[in-house]
Symmetry: C2
Subunit: 319 residues, 2 copies
Amino acid sequence: MTETGKLFDRVCLIGLGLIGSSIGAAIHKLKLADHVTGYAASQQTRQSAARIGFVDSVHETAADAAKDADLVILCAPIGVMEAITLEIAPALKPGCILTDVGSVKKAVISAVAPHTPDHVHFIPGHPIAGSEKSGPESGYPELFVDRWCILTPLPDADQDAVKKLENFWKALGSSVEVMTPSHHDSVLAITSHLPHLIAYSIVSTASDLEDVTSSEVIKFSAGGFRDFTRIAASDPTMWRDVFLTNKDAVLEMLGRFSEDLSALQRSIRWGDGDALYDLFSRSKETRQQIIEAGQDTAAPDFGREHHTDRLTDKHNEDK
Amino acid sequence: MTETGKLFDRVCLIGLGLIGSSIGAAIHKLKLADHVTGYAASQQTRQSAARIGFVDSVHETAADAAKDADLVILCAPIGVMEAITLEIAPALKPGCILTDVGSVKKAVISAVAPHTPDHVHFIPGHPIAGSEKSGPESGYPELFVDRWCILTPLPDADQDAVKKLENFWKALGSSVEVMTPSHHDSVLAITSHLPHLIAYSIVSTASDLEDVTSSEVIKFSAGGFRDFTRIAASDPTMWRDVFLTNKDAVLEMLGRFSEDLSALQRSIRWGDGDALYDLFSRSKETRQQIIEAGQDTAAPDFGREHHTDRLTDKHNEDK
């Protein structure tokens, strides 16, 4: 996170869950705006936001929150973005930047772009950051540090506005990459949507067994299963909307995955140990590259305690 | 971990990777034996073990390490357990307990039981603990704390020997559950083997795409993919042997998973938002149960920093 000083006079957050609350907290921490307004559909969320204080004012309508803002960020589920845009459009200030944090970009553009006034700069965005926790209590200002934020500006986007939004995300600690909406949706289908789909699916499979009880699945989950339940605990509304709106790219990746899984199934059935060993060895390299790219920690996590007293460390200390 | 005092005079570890080194370190820490011997097939591993010191003596052959031991623990890949048993059988002391830590139990029994002398108590075991790190440098004495260890004694097992082995695992910090080998293999097929298989498979799918580059997959992996690469970084030899030896149970679970995934695929294709939402909501409950059972931490892990300064915590402090 960088101390850049003020970037906007007034920022509006529509949707005050994990992402909205984290953005609000980061803006406050870094003093990136004079005033942060907020709106959420649920009264309970609005009350939590007011109590926690990551926004300066909470509003009863999205239009009221968006009025006079220089930057409006849609942090609501994709399924409600069209209705929100229709509601706030008349209230948007000329020159205002309208962006979003949705996990699918083509669908957000279809929902938002047709209703965006000409005097507003709509620049779709997607911070690749999150947690299995949702809601306004889960946010924290460092959520975006060392993560990537993808922007998918339309061909006629105002370059100054794009630059300004890039600087905002960089101030929050992220690196920014610009790509087409369609490419974004393919990249995310494999790096995020398919992993979540598979995780949800295996948790469901495990719940429906006859021979193995649910309590056994829970008890012995440390063997690998619990890692899937972690990502399968993410917000159901958000993920329903992802799969409804990135259908084509997800089905394409799912098709490829099913083919590869069938090949692996065949190797197991035929006892082809060499094929299994080769495949498993290659996965180790991908893991290494992710750690080198700073997108995960190398600390062994199966034990979950983040022990620093590995045997060799201890040995070195003893010297 | 409990200070129980000495449980065995001499313990032998065959195989000195993550599990063997962790057991050795725990025995030393808790003073559960007077002497720990060790053997590993690789000279490099033997040298590391000697240097790190989690065994008291390192031997050039498995038979030499096993000689005079009261407890012999096979911590080697399943694929070599038969050969090891054949080698050490003549050296085993009368009354000695022979156990193992293999992830599959029916196959280990087929490999070991026929070659176990009558004067030796063979009691198959499996600690449900691990890490994506392998090798003698990765071990630590607390690896088994708050985890489960499953024992699958044969019908004619000596109950005193079973009790003694139970106490050993309890001293290491684990809870012990006894079940049949066949049930163990079903339980582990869903809680451990299938999750690893799926993780390996999706990492492979992601490596072979044309539209999305490997570097993009790495870069944007924080959206979920990196969680799969973590478990897909586990030891390839160990996992090859698991899939070769627990074929039937894995193929059975894989068949069920594929059916469930096809149903989910259908819901996506037909845009059935209610079905998706219902399924995703149920997964959240499973997650909650795993946390309540102490098999994972509730700390949000997607950010991986284990931040304690959640917005609400901060708010409470400010009061």
